[in-house]
Symmetry: C4
Subunit: 367 residues, 4 copies
């Protein structure tokens, strides 16, 4: 099992690097969010404070490098580079799927390298939500956490990915209850995390009630796992599976919509992810109600090379976020979250149809 | 007459196979319907029950292969292949226009082959609505039914097709009354079926009052019969008729709109058809209020070849439907029909203008 | 003066035939008007009555060939062909600008040919509105009418055209009053006619109050007179005038919007013109509230050739109109005007902003 | 410092002339503003009075040539040409950034040439708002004014430009207070002017309260200073800075939106600028509530050549404005400002979200 899982994960990283697996028709919806430029920011850009304390951890900036890889020697290198970079920058990091390493102790070091390289950064372990109804439980969750001395555990909710994979586990009965059971027994906060199809208000409410301490929306509009499967399968000429990847390529709730659905429904912190590609988009996600942002694709290339290149990419994203904040006169993440933004297009229409407050964003702080 | 009709039908199938006769500017409107992905489906995909009982018949899945062909030896082969396939999969099938065979007994076997190959599947006979005011009546209806021992009779309402055909019958006076008269005398349920231009609320209401037991909307956005005529005429260089085909190419009520107009107006079961090309679109049609879906174009190529290929196509569509249901946590067709969907774009605007409830779809089941 | 006017008019006809002088960004808005197809038309297409009595004249179909040309020998031929055709079909015809012939008796025959060829058809004479404040008056109006024994007089309101022509008359002070004065003294009904930029509610109201008996909206979206000037000037390399033609190319109120603005404001009959290119568009214009439709561009080519070709073009347009009526179950122009249509897009938004009733169109006759 | 500033300004003018530094995705929003054509203008175009008195100065037409250049010998020539032209036409002119000349007396003549060439035209001096918190004060403001015997002082608010420039000053703390202090001490009116990213209602209110006598919105949709920086940096291969220019290329409040936000919030005169490229757009800006319009890009090429060419460009723009006014029957700027306009698209949606009155524009003067 571990070998197969490992091979699949290696496929994933190779395909994501070499093929265009970004959404085709779906967009994040962030293009429908408009900041209201402030000609008089009345702040000093240098004094902008990007730090934020979430999950009782102080982040130098509200940025996490999302789960990318693990389980191979190549992964070890990538994980080490990312870990060293986020340690240096005071950010957070989620590791790739730890499933293979939970089942094969030899692979643990491909993950544990992150804590070695990042003794103080916020590290997020993970476990598949669907695994909880296929034999996994508290023991495996703790193993995942201990493997990297994690500050939090992300439970990956990935029904789309499982659905389009031939070998995917397609029974999600009782996942919520299992999550509820685990949450209570762990010492670290549990984050419910989608993997590219977004989280709706209904699910957010149930997850909060089950005790999760954070929600990572991972909406549609960025990397599509159905697309990854499309390419993985393509080479095997299995047209049945390939067509599934094609038909579901753009499935999911766009990131901007998911952030609003969740933030107007629950009070736990929200991590915005799914197609975020610039600091301006990070700023928009935070203005919509997210507490942290997370991204993987923009660092994929750099993390294969060096700490320096990875640091350049992340620093630039942070500089873009800071510049956005400067231009709306927000000197803190909190101030950014209170700054007015205008929602238009399909994003505004979807949210109104679902009875969420859209006007409030545009009118807040108008006096 | 029969020969001419047969020749025309043979033209149709040839053109549909070789020319692009899909809508140009019109779309089904299904692209304006958005599912709300469920990160926690809380169901087992394997346990999803696609079966549905409509017209007192149990369908293994809510899928019918729509009326394609008949009357020629090539048609016999195609009909046999489709029949064998739907029998094996527990689906339904509508045969092509039976008019030629009603008038020429020798052609009957090109249709009756379907019941031989599909002893238990749901078979739908047909008669042209407009024929009812041009000499046809109960006798012909019964003949059509008996020819294939049909489970239902579809009365084709095809004013657009008749209008753009030079030889078309363009007197529809009294069709409704004739339908009402026949409905009462038949032992099988009668389905009113458009042929690509959709059914509006007003007509649905009248049809239900006349006693029809089901409505097949067959909306715009898929194969255009005006386009078929355009190509049929083109070869004869009759520019007058050709321009008619061109001007009316995209005429009609888009499928998604027609489903909503009809489902919010009558209580008889709705068959969704017109441009449905994937299981996701089947799922959307059901979520909007349809009880069954019907399609022809996606099996056209396979049904010319073999049962195996046709089965592959239909199985994949069903798998896509099932995957859609899994991803919104619907373990039955009924559950799918209650799942929230968001309507945007022209589809939402049309329906609001016409005073149908659009918000209800987006908000149902939110608690 | 007459020579110059004649030359300019000859330029116009040549440019309109050889250059693309259709609107570039502007559209008629008719693409935002959607018929609701009737699967059960319940009428006999052959019995559809297209005849309509407007200005106490019975038109076999609600179609007028708009003002095209006059003043040259080429124009005589074109006018004769159109006149003979509309006589045969029982339609109406407006002649081209009669100004040159009013000023030079020798040119009269280029216009009077129409009445010779069309003894009973509805013929519309014309006079420039702006000429009324530049020396023209009752005498010239009567001369124009008598020249073709006209059934009506169109007063052309063409401020855009005058504005972009170097030699244009740009003083419109008192035009309305002059129109009011003339209206009273004439035996034939006066129609106020724009020439491609549309008529707004405000102007319609004033015109009706001044006594005009019909309004020809001639909206934007079809042939652009600014574009004609652009090409006329281009050859003379006068960049100043050329740029004016370019900047105002798409100026004006789109045809669909103008029909609604006027029809919801006044009670006199409306002639819909401006970019109407098919019988479906004629039907849409009538459904929005017009009593007659008028077009020039579609017959331009044929009217240069023969009565037969012109008849073909007009007959096809009428057939398309009839087919549209058949497909919405309207057996008369009056019935068509009461049939529901759905307005979407920019057209619906403009009209709502201006507080016109948009929903009414979509909901009428729903029971 | 002066040398560096001068070099940067020279870079700006060179890049603006040779590279496409116009907005890519952003538009001015003026394409969403629609005039309601008047078929009966009832005015004499020749009598249209374009003159307007703003800041106690009579402008022959509501047009200012915006701040372009200064500080180099090439700039002297350009400034002289523009000045001579606006003097002749009775317009206004803003000079380019005077910072270099404030710091280096030798450069003064590159600006003072304007007053020599334009003894009576409205000349606008300028000072950077952010400089006021970096050492500048009343003395420098007076120096700028005296240098050209200015009629007004524009305080440039350019946080976007500073933010994307490596050497930019990014501390805007206290700028508003400093503006307030200066305003009181100066004899000429102070205009707060953005430089391409627009001014929001919130800032307009604060600026008015601080005592500024006019607001130049300079919205997004025209020349992008982020784009200028993108090209300036490109040649130095500093990818970090280049990416900033790229990401912020389209940042800002579109011009049409900014005019409405400001005009519905304050009572001081508004100068509309940012992407205005024709007299029709000038007319739209005035109809939305601006008192003057300002533009630079359209004269860039001509101002490098001769007074005659510059005069041609400006005269044509004025002729287009006058033609627009003629076509809506407005014989004065005041009348134009009361004429109805329809707002659609993203512009209308943004403004509604922000609770500004949009319908009022479409319905005013309807009786």
């Amino acid at each position: 099992m571990a070998t197969e899982t490992r091979k699949r994960k290696a496929d994933h990283i190779r395909i994501s690097s070499n093929q265009n697996v970004q959404a085709r028709k779906a967009t994040t919806g962030l293009e429908d969010i408009h900041f209201i430029h402030k000609a008089l920011p009345e702040i000093d850009k240098q004094k902008i404070n990007l730090s934020t304390t979430i999950f009782s951890h102080k982040f130098v900036a509200p940025l996490i490098v999302g789960a990318i890889t693990g389980g191979t020697s190549e992964a070890t290198k990538i994980n080490a580079i990312i870990a060293e970079t986020v340690e240096e920058l005071g950010l957070g990091m989620g590791v790739g799927s730890q499933r293979a390493a939970i089942e094969d102790k030899k692979l643990e070091k491909t993950f544990s390298i992150t804590r070695k390289k990042a003794p103080t950064a916020f590290l997020i372990a993970n476990i598949g939500g669907v695994q909880l109804v296929h034999g996994y439980g508290l023991k495996e969750a703790k193993k995942a956490i201990e493997m990297i001395e994690a500050d939090a555990l992300a439970i990956h909710l990935n029904p789309l990915q499982e659905a389009v994979q031939r070998e995917g586990q397609k029974n999600f009965e009782g996942v919520l209850e299992k999550i509820g059971a685990i949450v209570k027994e762990l010492d670290v906060p549990v984050i419910a995390k989608e993997t590219g199809a977004g989280i709706a208000a209904e699910e957010a409410k149930k997850l909060e009630a089950a005790g999760v301490k954070g929600i990572d929306v991972s909406g549609a509009g960025g990397t599509s796992f159905a697309a990854v499967e499309y390419y993985r399968v393509k080479r095997k000429a299995n047209s049945f599976q390939r067509r599934l990847g094609d038909v579901f390529w753009d499935w999911g709730i766009p990131t901007a919509i998911s952030i609003v659905e969740v933030s107007q429904t629950v009070t736990v912190p929200i991590i915005a992810s799914g197609g975020i590609r610039s600091g301006v988009e990070m700023a928009k996600a935070l203005a919509l109600g997210a507490s942290l942002t997370s991204l993987s694709q923009p660092v994929l290339h750099a993390a294969n090379k060096s700490v320096e290149e990875t640091k350049n990419v992340l620093s630039l994203l942070i500089e873009e976020l800071k510049t956005s904040m400067f231009l709306v006169g927000a000197d803190s993440v909190q101030a950014l979250q209170a700054t007015p933004v205008v929602l238009t297009g399909k994003t505004a229409k979807w949210l109104k149809m679902r009875k969420f407050d859209v006007e409030g964003y545009a009118r807040r702080k108008r006096s």
